[in-house]
């Protein structure tokens, strides 16, 4: 009897491959259908068959006859996601460095971050709103909304940095120190370049988690909606493929972000292993 990793493929391989393929279809199928339907003809409805092929519904989002405040929501979600991305990287990376040593309160901070992941988003949303009220601060997407998003992205960023820095051998920094590098030179010329792919991953999480974040944004963004909230309201009152068009556009942005992140990581790894 051979293990799956050696010799001829056992029959279970074929069963599991089929299962895996079905799973991937399951994951991507509905989105794919939605992509197609967003090009529905002007007289078409929410379901198949396709009546023509047009960009009418994309137009409905951004054109004259606006469906919902999509443009406005974009103009908030995108900058917010970028801000969250930058802050998540900065805060996670510096905190990740701190956690390489034991310090008073490290356990508490760690478990608080984990708790932030576990607490249902809606509960936190309520809490942040109430906090803002008590402090007399109005809820704004670029402040309370930002903080709410950070409470979700920072634990992810932290965990990734733990994994990366945990695998980083201390001998690189010692070698740099041995050759006369100051602490800052070591961080800048040795540590950060080595962990840079991890930082890209943190940035990816920061951007996409914020861009798609819903429960925690719910009450904390104030009166101006972010895109996910806008989509949510549209699910109840929009009955046209414009919703699908919005889905396609917003997914496209996500894919661009993902592609950039994974592409750059792959490029860096490739460059470090290439022969000349």
């Amino acid at each position: 009897m051979s293990l799956p990793s050696q010799g001829r493929r056992p029959w279970t391989f074929y069963v599991l491959s089929v299962m895996f393929t079905l799973f991937v279809l399951f994951l991507y199928g509905p989105m794919f259908i939605m992509f197609i339907l967003s090009f529905q003809g002007p007289t078409g409805g929410l379901v198949f068959p396709m009546r023509g092929f047009s960009l009418t519904w994309f137009d409905a989002l951004f054109g004259q006859a606006r469906t919902g405040d999509v443009g406005g929501a974009f103009s908030r979600s995108l900058p917010l996601a970028l801000m969250v991305m930058v802050l998540t990287v900065l805060i996670s990376v510096t905190a990740g460095f701190a956690f390489r040593r034991r310090f008073v309160g490290s356990g508490f901070l760690f478990y608080t971050a984990v708790a932030s992941l576990i607490v249902p988003g809606l509960v936190l949303s309520i809490g942040i709103l109430v906090t803002a009220r008590f402090l007399g601060i109005p809820a704004r997407w670029w402040f309370t909304g930002l903080g709410a998003h950070l409470s979700w992205t920072l634990p992810f960023g932290l965990l990734i940095m733990f994994a990366i820095l945990g695998r980083l051998s201390p001998s690189y920094e010692e070698a740099a120190y041995d050759m006369g590098a100051t602490r800052w030179q070591t961080v800048r010329h040795v540590v950060i370049p080595i962990v840079f792919p991890g930082m890209i991953a943190v940035a990816l999480f920061g951007f996409t988690l914020s861009y798609d974040e819903f429960p925690r944004s719910w009450l904390t963004v104030g009166s101006l909606n972010t895109l996910p909230i806008e989509i949510w309201t549209m699910t109840t009152n929009v009955t046209s493929p414009a919703l699908y068009a919005l889905g396609t556009v917003t997914s496209a942005i996500s894919f661009v972000a993902i592609g950039l992140a994974i592409g750059s990581i792959a490029y860096i790894q490739h460059r470090r292993s290439k022969r000349t």
């Binding site: 001998s171 070698a175 041995d178 050759m179 010329h189 040795v190 292993s273 290439k274």
Partner: protein, 384 residues
């Protein structure tokens, strides 16, 4: 050259102690390593040799004591201010930089212009015959090549002391032997002090002008390789370096320049000694080299015969130029004789054969310290 302190690479450790938590890694060490010598620190894991290396390098600070390199007292100075350079066990080549940029790193930290520093890095790579790999990334190098890059990277700092932390451990046997020769000739060519940590005895005696044998944070013996091997000072050194049999007994006679030592279980030993003799009844230990033993079949040692023991063969191991014969001589430690192959195969032995081991009085070397009955195995855990 670059503000590096030049001059003597003599290293002096004065009463150096290093404590981690409640454990003493290194206890009151005094050591002088002469300028331009090749010094090997040898001992089992945990004996403190790496700690000493790192304290000389500046990566650890002694809890107490002084370290001098040349004329400077260097405790408190950063590594780069001491004129030392370290070669790490894992080489620690920066994975994101090419070989050339790895070697040029030191110069970059000193703000040397890019063209200049790359030129000098190339020169250094030529010295280790790796300039054809200058633009390659470390991940694509073999172990031996990585080591040479690490060497080049350390040497470009123009150190007066080069510190090597188990540099050959990661290489396979054949490469290890070859790199050993290269390290030795490199040191001769550069004329700087090399301090090399290893746990491999043959490596230590092959390379070093000075071998320092360490045990649990203390130096047992610091001497030339020949003396360490042939004239160990303590049972620990004898056992760790191998090649010796350790025997013990009490003094029963000291007349005529001959020290007679008797073991309670029977055998009598004799060694020639000069100077003040120890009194009768003193416990003494001595060593006999394994390759200075002659074996004859049959348990023929007469009672009272000196430097002869009866034993029974428990193992034979062929080693090419000699055969290692292990005997049970009714003491707590096995007795080993290394018999030259032609002599052995003239009359081979089997496990269980009764034999007598004999050696000359002149081949007995008395140890400064008697065997205390402590652990034979250098890797045994502390009794405490």
């Amino acid at each position: 050259m670059d503000g590096q302190p030049s001059g003597s690479g003599e290293i002096r450790l004065v009463d150096v102690t290093k404590t981690f938590g409640d454990m003493d890694a290194v206890k009151s060490i005094d050591l002088v390593i002469p300028h331009g010598s090749y010094c090997c620190l040898v001992g089992p894991s945990g004996c403190g040799k790496t700690t000493i290396l790192r304290m000389i390098a500046g990566h650890e600070t002694p809890t107490s004591g002084e370290i001098h390199i040349g004329e400077q007292m260097v405790v408190g100075l950063k590594p780069v201010q001491r004129g030392t350079a370290m070669m790490f066990q894992s080489y620690a080549l920066f994975p994101h930089l090419s070989v050339l940029d790895n070697v040029a790193f030191y110069l970059k930290m000193r703000d040397v212009a890019k063209d200049e520093r790359r030129r000098r890095a190339r020169e250094m790579l030529e010295r280790v015959q790796l300039d054809h790999l200058a633009l390659r990334m470390p991940a694509m190098l073999s172990g031996g090549q990585q080591q040479r890059v690490a060497l080049a990277r350390a040497l470009i700092t123009n150190p007066r002391v080069l510190l090597l932390d188990e540099p050959l451990s990661a290489l396979d046997e054949f490469l290890r032997l070859r790199m050993r020769g290269e390290l030795k000739s490199l040191q001769a060519e550069l004329g700087i002090t090399f301090v090399h940590v290893t746990h491999t005895q043959p490596e230590a005696i092959a390379l070093a002008d000075m071998v320092v044998v360490m045990d649990h944070g203390r130096i047992d013996q610091a001497d030339t390789a020949r003396h360490i091997f042939s004239r160990p000072a303590t049972p620990y050194v004898a056992r760790f370096m191998g090649g010796q049999n350790v025997l013990s007994g009490t003094v029963t006679d000291t007349s005529g320049g001959v020290l007679v030592i008797t073991d309670a279980s029977g055998p009598t030993y004799a060694a020639s000694a000069s100077g003040p003799m120890p009194g009768a009844g003193t416990a003494m230990s001595f060593v006999v080299r394994r390759d200075r033993i002659a074996l004859t079949k049959g348990a023929t040692a007469a009672p009272g015969e000196r430097n002869a023991v009866n034993g029974r063969v428990i193992a034979t191991e062929y080693q090419g130029t000699y055969v290692k014969v292990t005997l049970d001589v009714a003491s707590r430690e096995a007795f080993v004789a290394n018999i030259a192959d032609d002599i052995y195969f003239a009359e081979p032995l089997k496990v269980g054969d009764e034999v007598t081991a004999r050696w000359a009085t002149a081949d007995v070397h008395i140890l400064e310290r008697a065997d205390t009955g402590a652990a034979i195995d250098p890797y045994a855990e502390d009794a405490a």
